[in-house]
Symmetry: C2
Subunit: 185 residues, 2 copies
C-alpha cells in the first residue's frame, strides 16, 4: 500500500510497534481488526470470547497460487489440519458524529493480498464492518480513497458510499507535529 | 455548523443522544472533548482525576457581548463567583496509522462560538489536542476541512498541517447504511 501510494518514506511500522499498540482492548471499543483467513476445509470451532467469527463458504473459480503462503500461515486450525492463510484485513475504530449524536466507524485500512483480489473478499471485509455498525446502532461509516483510484471509487460507490467532493483531509505529522512538543504545555 | 455546511437535514442530535454516547470513558481512550471555558477572574481550583485542565491567561481587545451567556453558563466556578461561559469545544478520538504503527488523533469537531472568534481560541483548542498527541507519543493528527473554506484552510496550514489534495472522504450513512442491517449477518 505504501508503494502504491508513493508513501514508502512514511512507512516506519515494525512488528514491535504494531504489537505494542494493537490488540489491547476488546473489539469495537478502540482499534479493531477483522482478519480474513482462508481455508479449503471447514474451520475447527474457533473460540473467541468477545466476538463470534463470521464464517462464509465461497466458491472461487480457481485456487490462487500464493507465493507467500508460508509467511502468511495463520495460527487458526481447520478440520483437515492443513494450512489456513491470512489473505487480508480491515482495521477500523469508533468515530463520532455530533450531527447524529451517535458513534460511527472510521475505516483506516482495507487490504486484500494481491493474489486473492477480484474474488469479493474486499467487499466481504468492508461489509462486515458496516453490518457491525448497524448492529451497534452506529450511524456512519467513513473512510478515505485516493480520487485517482477510479476502480476503488467505483467499488465504494457500488457499496452505497458517497464520495464527498468538497472535503479535504488535513494532516499534521512528522516535524510539524513534534514541534508542538516544545510548546508551553 | 450544520447551517454553514448546508447539512441541516443531517442534524438529528438531541441532548439525550449526546449524553448517552459521550463522557463514558477516561480522556484520550475514546471520544474526548476539550471544553473552552472563559472567565474574567481566575478559576477556582478544578478537580479532575484524569486530566489536569489547561489554564491560560489571555488579553482580549474588548470583552465580547455574548447574547447567549445564560444558555452557555458553565458549571465550573471562578474566584469571583461570577459566570463562567462555555465558548467552544474540540471533539477528538484516537485513530491509528499502520504506516507508523502508532496511534494518532482524529479531530471530528472544532467550534468556537461566533462572538468569541478571531481571538486565538480555535488555535488554542487545536494546539491542546496536538500537544496531547505529542505527549502520548502519537504520530499523527488528522481532521477534515471544506476545500472552499479558504480561511479555515489557511488557518490549518499556518498551524503546520498539510491539506491532502488527492484523498476524498467516503461516507456510508442513512438508508444506504441501514440496508446492511438486512444482510445475512
Amino acid at each position: 500500500m505504501a508503494v502504491f501510494q508513493n508513501d514508502t518514506h512514511l512507512f516506519t511500522a515494525t512488528e514491535s510497534s504494531l504489537a505494542s499498540t494493537l490488540f489491547n482492548s476488546p473489539p469495537f471499543q478502540s482499534f479493531t481488526i477483522f482478519i480474513l483467513e482462508l481455508s479449503s476445509y471447514p474451520f475447527k470451532n474457533i473460540h473467541s470470547p468477545a466476538f463470534l467469527p463470521i464464517e462464509r463458504a465461497v466458491l472461487v473459480d480457481h485456487v490462487a497460487t500464493d507465493p507467500d503462503a508460508e509467511t502468511f500461515k495463520s495460527s487458526v486450525a481447520n478440520e483437515d489440519g492443513d494450512n489456513v492463510t491470512v489473505a487480508g484485513f480491515v482495521l477500523f475504530m469508533p468515530s463520532y458524529t455530533t450531527f447524529a449524536g451517535k458513534p460511527g466507524f472510521h475505516v483506516e485500512d482495507l487490504l486484500v493480498r494481491e493474489c486473492y483480489r477480484r474474488k469479493g473478499f474486499g467487499k466481504m471485509l468492508l461489509s462486515a464492518v458496516v453490518e457491525q455498525a448497524v448492529k451497534m446502532g452506529f450511524k456512519r461509516v467513513e473512510w478515505s480513497v485516493l480520487e485517482w483510484n477510479v476502480s476503488a471509487v467505483k467499488f465504494y460507490e457500488e457499496m452505497g458510499a458517497k464520495v464527498l467532493s468538497e472535503w479535504r483531509v488535513c494532516r499534521l505529522t512528522g516535524d510539524a507535529l513534534e514541534a508542538y512538543g516544545d510548546a508551553n504545555c
